[in-house]
């Protein structure tokens, strides 16, 4: 009960899933805890070794000294593994009124609401899911959670796992490597185009919103897949740290799009490492929307290894009271005729802070390459802040690198015009903010962008209920 009260106070759109874990490790992290996780999961020796080695690296690595304030993370106060119950006994009627209203206003479909609210731990449309899975299977596509993949496709997993983001990469990648749980594994065979976006929360079982997800996507030559994770509806979690690792391999001529809509409750540190490798003529697109969390540090990157490869990052960051969104992108050009584009839109409000942090690197030999970076920031009031930290390292002459950034407030004339047409000021503000992020929202699946628009309106109009 106490928790629900604290929740109302801190995060009015959130909700608590009553925690009734069947099994969980003790608070804190040690090599014993890591070994225990591996033991519970009944993993092969190589994975256990990998976890233990990663743990050693995690201990040795120092915390990043840049970006947001990480000083309040206490690694000893976190439960690193919890096995959830199969059935939740919460009922829709018992949910707090304001949460139901939030869902109504965002327009989350009934089935999803129940799932999100923990009313049904299993997706109500399990039957639909099954038929989708059969359809995928017929095409040779593998789509399952990472734990299953380690069990059932060990040789495939071993070939790619952690080769793009080794545990040495950074402290949080090392932590994830040691204690990872859940996440998705996607394998698309040569030439197969997946017409339906694969959605993380379309999978059954409760591991969907894990704390330390590990996702691996392999798109073979000439294939296409669109993967969607997260959802616009707020996710309340008592976990204070979310640290995922996502590795994507885009083979020759393949195309992968990875869409994230993140709306963690405002007590979460969201520290994620995402990286993709694009081979010859491959296309990798990250669409990244960050709305929630206390602090997000996330820089999806594309390593353009093959001639003619293309990388793209479209991102939206929204920081309200007490939030810091330190997000951006990295594009590393290693081959000729590669191109990249980064479009970043950020909004800060009520004392929130948004930072764009990005890297563009053109290696010698990456001739005839082009880079375009555009960062626009809106600051909605005088308490808020916006930063831009782009890094450009160019070691090649036959390139075109462009970067531009603007910071401004909502146009007073536009607001005046809209209000003179009888639109309430708050609605007009919502309209302008939604217009500002439109170049990105039009790229995400329709149901998400509609929800996102409504959510922005909700944030702009202050409170709900």
């Amino acid at each position: 009960m106490q928790q629900t009260q604290g929740l109302d106070f801190e995060y009015k759109f959130g909700f608590a899933m009553p925690e009734r874990p069947v099994y969980q490790t003790k608070k804190g992290i040690s090599s014993r805890v890591v070994a225990e996780i591996s033991h519970i999961k009944n993993e092969p020796a190589w994975m256990r070794q990998f976890r233990l080695k990663s743990f050693e690296i995690f201990v040795k690595k120092s915390m990043p000294t840049w970006g947001g304030d990480l000083s309040r993370i206490n690694f000893n106060n976190i439960i690193y593994f919890a096995k959830a119950t199969n059935k939740q006994e919460n009922s829709w009627e018992k949910l707090p009124k304001e949460i139901k209203e939030t869902y109504d206003r965002i327009g989350v479909p009934e089935a999803e609401r129940k799932f999100l609210a923990g009313v049904s731990a299993q997706y109500d449309s399990e039957v639909v899911y099954e038929s989708v899975r059969l359809e995928l299977k017929k095409q040779g596509i593998i789509f399952c959670d990472m734990d299953t993949a380690v069990r059932e496709y060990p040789s495939l997993v071993r070939q790619y796992f952690s080769t793009l983001i080794p545990p040495h990469d950074n402290k949080f990648a090392a932590l994830n490597s040691a204690v990872w749980s859940g996440g998705s594994f996607v394998y698309v065979p040569k030439g197969v185009k997946v017409t339906l976006p694969l959605q993380a929360y379309f999978r059954i079982n409760a591991q969907n919103f894990g704390q330390f997800e590990r996702t691996l996507i392999i798109a073979e030559e000439g294939s296409y897949v669109h993967y969607v994770e997260g959802c616009t509806a707020p996710i309340y979690t008592t976990d204070s740290l979310h640290s995922a690792v996502v590795e994507i391999f885009v083979k020759k001529g393949a195309r992968v799009r990875y869409t994230t809509v993140q709306n963690w409750s405002k007590n979460v540190y969201n520290l994620v490492t995402k990286r993709a490798r694009a081979d010859e003529e491959a296309v990798m697109e990250w669409v990244d929307c960050n709305l929630g969390s206390q602090l997000t540090m996330k820089y999806p990157s594309v390593y353009l290894y093959g001639k003619g490869a293309r990388g793209e990052v479209l991102s939206i960051a929204f920081a309200g009271e007490g939030q810091h969104q330190d997000a951006g992108a990295k594009m590393l050009h290693f081959a000729s005729h590669t191109s990249s584009r980064i479009i970043s839109k950020s909004i800060s409000k009520d004392g929130g802070r948004t930072s764009y942090r990005g890297l563009v690197q053109v290696a010698p030999g990456a001739s005839a390459s082009s880079v375009f970076v555009s960062c626009d920031a809106l600051i909605l009031d005088e308490k808020s802040r916006s930063d831009t930290y782009p890094f450009m390292r160019i070691k090649e002459s036959d390139v075109s690198v462009q970067h531009e950034a603007t910071v401004e407030k909502l146009g007073e004339e536009k607001l005046f015009y809209l209000t003179s047409r009888g639109i309430a000021k708050q609605d007009a503000e919502g309209l302008l903010v939604n217009g500002f992020i439109e170049p990105v929202t039009k790229e995400i699946p329709l149901e998400y962008s509609i929800e996102l628009n409504r959510l922005i309106n909700l944030e702009m109009s202050g409170s709900v209920g």
Partner: protein, 199 residues
């Protein structure tokens, strides 16, 4: 109008305390230039020109720090890099909370003439006020192939065409300074260290 040739004064910190127009000029120098704007109704222009030859290495850091509102600053750094020269630039615009209605601009354009050059450009913004206009831009690349082709199609040698484009690139900056009534500017050929009149 106050004209400050930073390359000669070699000071690190400049405080703008009086109303008026200030023009700063830097040419081929490394180091940090910190400009603090403490008064409203001030206009600050910063022009920097860097020509890298052989093993030249320039490390430049600029700060446009707006501590007072209704102030204006505009920075333009242009660089042309030959041979194995290196340019490492970090520019920061910082606008404090109380410096509302500030306008701050920052632009860095680099022309890379050789495969062995290295350009590192970091144009940073830290904006703590909301009622401001702030933009920055950075471009790095080689000479425009189409422009080169156009000039060659008009009968110029490739080297001549390249020289014309580089001169134009540099003269654009000088022209902006002339517009602000800065006289006694060096010649483009001198600035470019032309070898026997050629690039």
């Amino acid at each position: 109008m106050y004209f400050i040739d930073v390359s000669k004064e070699k000071k690190e910190k400049y405080v703008v305390e009086k109303q008026g127009k200030y023009v700063f000029f830097l040419h081929n120098i490394s180091g940090k230039i910190y400009i603090e704007i403490q008064k409203p109704n001030t206009e600050v222009y910063i022009f920097g020109l860097f020509i890298g030859r052989n093993n030249d290495v320039f490390k430049l850091e600029t700060v446009q720090h707006h501590r007072a509102g209704n102030s204006f600053s505009n920075l333009l750094i242009k660089g042309v890099f030959f041979d194995r020269s290196k340019f490492i630039y970090e520019g920061l615009i910082r606008i404090e909370k109380k410096a509302q209605k500030s306008h701050a601009y920052q632009k860095n354009q680099n022309l890379v003439m050789s495969k062995d050059c290295f350009v590192d450009s970091r144009p940073f913004l830290e904006i703590l006020a909301n009622d401001v206009f702030c933009t920055h831009g950075s471009t790095t690349g080689g000479l425009n192939e189409e422009q080169l082709y156009f000039l060659q199609s008009r009968g110029l040698e490739k080297a001549q065409a390249a020289e014309l484009l580089v001169r134009g690139f540099v003269d654009d900056l000088l022209g902006k300074m002339r517009d602000l009534k800065v006289n006694q500017l060096p010649e483009v050929s001198y600035l470019l260290h032309l070898r026997g009149g050629r690039l």
